[in-house]
């Protein structure tokens, strides 16, 4: 991980607005400001997915942080951009010049990697609190990736919940009318015997 001063390096995952990319970077604070470079080298032999595609690999910013969570940065060309950030749990939310970006520390997790997260990733979770309107699948049924499996209502709107990957419904954990919290398991999915390639 990076330090506040001096040299640093780390891996982060960009989750918003474009999701899922892990990138490795190095940072240094020098006289000219804060220098950041994307590290395009492979991680453990697995190529970084378009880590530096189309992006400059290095940038130097003059960062002026007026208070915690806010600041102004200047590019080498002298253009100034306002920014603000806040941690939302494990997510770093960054507002920059009118756009929102969300990052997580990658902590060694690889995109497309298996292990640990597999069963959790296969289950269907409630994206936000609300009420279950309909469960469209039954236990033992096979579902396709992106298939609509549950309809919820939240904030006066219907939410269509889709399966993030294909599998067999091992358990239906909710019933219509039930109130659910954010993150509550709606369906347990047993992955089919396939390479868990998402």
């Amino acid at each position: 991980m990076t330090q506040g001063q001096g040299q640093g390096h780390g891996e982060m995952r960009e989750t918003y607005p474009s999701a899922g990319e892990v990138y490795r970077y190095r940072t240094a604070e020098g006289e000219s400001g804060f220098t950041f470079s994307l590290d395009g080298a492979p991680l453990d032999g697995a190529p970084l997915e378009s880590a530096a595609a189309g992006l400059e690999s290095a940038i130097t910013l003059d960062i002026e942080s007026r208070e915690t969570g806010e600041g102004l940065c200047r590019t080498a060309s002298g253009r100034a951009y306002a920014f603000a950030w806040a941690w939302v749990g494990a997510e770093l939310h960054l507002w920059l010049d009118g756009d929102l970006f969300v990052f997580q520390r990658a902590e060694g997790r690889r995109r497309g990697g298996a292990a640990g997260g597999e069963s959790a990733a296969a289950d269907v979770l409630a994206p936000m609190p609300g009420a279950v309107l309909e469960v469209l699948v039954a236990e033992g049924e096979r579902v396709e990736r992106n298939q609509t499996v549950v309809i919820m209502e939240s904030m006066k709107m219907e939410l269509v919940i889709t399966a993030a990957r294909g599998g067999i419904v091992r358990r239906v954990a909710v019933q219509p009318g039930q109130q659910v919290e954010r993150g509550m398991r709606l369906l347990e999915l047993a992955p089919e015997n396939e390479s868990g390639n998402d």
């Binding site: 960009e14 607005p17 950041f36 960054l94 920059l96 990052f103 936000m128 219907e158």
Partner: protein, 508 residues
């Protein structure tokens, strides 16, 4: 004039109504749910009364409770805002029965206009063009077959009690019709307690233009010009402007006269809005519905006329006559409003909840912000995800759009996803800037609902994220984590990120 008025609403509209009441020397009383303790609309009033519970049904939709609160606090009148009970005739009747003035139209005209089928008949009788539609019908009815025979597909299934796009379905094929009617009926039943539906001929790519009217209790009705509301997502408006780039002075005069005719036919008193579909090519327009309430987008009318519509609502309800005449209505300049929603424009507008960790609206010449939230507030699942409305005015359209674009780029909101980048993309879009758009704008321009960040900005964002992560790795982390909501444990948030969720259902 009243001495005390209960504001039966929440969010930005309750704040805005209270502000006018204070300016008139009237004491505003707020009601609030348990989820809204500490909300700005509570602070905006001089008294606030808790409505136990959180769900809208227990609180802001609870007629008996609200009427009792109004009587207990000694209010003489009730302002319903928009949404919630604002167009509920039973509420207006309950207020009247309790001896309270209802700041809005009578229950009778509300009931007549709330039934879309009756409202269309009324407009037709008043000689106003109406989109072809069937009577109320059910799957398999003869009326369904007759309508399809005559008008074909695509068609719209609409709720008789509908509004705001709820209970509405676009149907392209015969075999989808029965299912769509059932689905729309169920949705309408859930939303309005009335599952009746009807069919309407679908007018492709219309513009949505509405006319504000004001009528007093002495038979004096005027119109306050139009608002162009064609930029919509899920059939709900997100950007409105006035004057409409599509109207000629002659069309404006015709639509204004039609709006007044509809209001008169409904015996309408107070502020109301007549909505039309406009064929931008032919200039033909059709009556859609009349909204018996103050509209969300009323501030743009206020901006070009220098009027306070809530002030007129209160004056009319207190028995004053309208001292304005049609010739006084001389719009000046151009105004645009953007509705800021806690929703993700890149994930099918899925609503986003959480704590507003940073909320810094812009300010500047010609800007107005009607906001219902403050920094640190929790955006909950219980109510509408609209956070605020930003309004820009300028002597001309080009400058007012520029003011809006600049302001949107400066609007800092962190903690929940917002539609701010989408709004900016639309306002900056060449087609929008030329005024060439209709209700299909977002569908025809999918690019505006995709992230459109330059590579340079993305690299900079990554750099700043790395820097910020480094900043908070050490001593600073305690202060930044204190910004996070209690209970927003890392595990809970990391497991489910609202931006990875499934999209909200996009109505056809």
């Amino acid at each position: 004039m009243f001495a005390k008025v209960l504001v039966a609403n929440r969010g930005e509209i309750a704040v805005r109504v209270s502000q006018t009441l204070r300016a008139l020397g009237v004491a505003p009383v707020a009601v609030y749910s348990e989820a809204d303790a500490g909300a700005p609309h509570v602070a905006a009033a001089v008294e606030a009364v808790l409505l136990p519970g959180r769900a809208a049904e227990e609180t802001y939709l609870n007629i008996d409770r609200i009427v009792q609160v109004a009587l207990d606090c000694g209010a003489e009148a009730v302002h319903p805002g928009y949404g919630f009970l604002s167009e509920n005739p039973a509420f207006a009747l309950a207020c009247g029965a309790a001896g309270l003035s209802f700041i809005g139209p009578t229950a009778e005209s509300m009931a007549a206009l709330g039934d879309k089928v009756r409202a269309k008949d009324m407009a037709r009788r008043a000689g106003i063009p109406v989109a072809p539609s069937s009577p109320v019908c059910r799957p398999g009815d003869a009326a369904v077959g007759e309508f399809v025979e005559q008008w074909g597909f695509p068609l719209l299934v609409k709720a008789a009690a509908g509004g705001g796009g709820r209970g509405m379905r676009l149907v392209n094929r015969r075999r989808d019709l029965d299912g769509a009617m059932e689905l729309a009926g169920r949705e309408a039943l859930a939303a309005f307690g009335d599952g009746r539906v009807f069919l309407e001929h679908y007018i492709a790519n219309p513009r949505h233009v509405e006319v504000q009217v004001l009528a007093d209790g002495f038979g004096h009705t005027i119109h306050l010009g139009e608002r162009e509301c064609s930029i919509q997502r899920r059939h709900q408006k997100i950007i409105e402007e006035t004057p409409s780039p599509a109207l000629t002075p002659e069309l404006r005069r015709q639509m204004g006269a039609a709006a007044i005719a509809v209001a008169r036919a409904a015996g309408y008193v107070n502020a109301g809005t007549v909505e039309f579909l406009l064929d931008g090519q032919s200039g033909e327009f059709y009556f859609l519905e009349m909204n018996a309430r103050l509209q969300v987008e009323h501030p743009i009318t206020e901006a070009v006329l220098g009027l306070d519509l809530v002030e007129w609502q209160v004056r009319i309800a207190s028995g004053e006559s309208l001292t304005l005449v049609q010739d006084d209505i001389l719009p000046r300049g151009h105004a645009i409003e953007c509705r800021i929603y806690a929703e993700d424009p890149y994930r099918d507008f899925a609503p986003s909840t959480g704590r507003l960790l940073r909320w810094r609206p812009p300010s500047g010449p010609g800007l107005r912000l009607d906001s219902g939230v403050v920094q640190g507030q929790e955006v909950s699942i219980y109510y509408d995800p609209m956070l605020a409305k930003l309004i820009a005015w300028a002597p001309g359209r080009e400058l007012s759009l520029r003011r809006m674009e600049v302001a949107l780029a400066q609007f800092v909101a962190l903690g929940v996803a917002t539609n701010l980048p989408l709004l900016r993309a639309v306002v900056g879009h060449p087609q929008f800037q030329r005024g060439e758009y209709d209700t299909g704008f977002l569908e025809w321009n999918p690019a505006v609902t995709s992230p459109a960040t330059s590579d340079e900005l993305r690299t900079m964002a990554r750099a700043l994220a790395a820097w910020a992560a480094g900043q908070s790795a050490g001593a600073v982390s305690s202060s930044s984590s204190s910004l996070a909501a209690p209970g927003d444990g890392a595990a809970g948030r990391a497991a489910v990120n609202p931006w990875q969720s499934a999209g909200a259902r996009r109505l056809p």
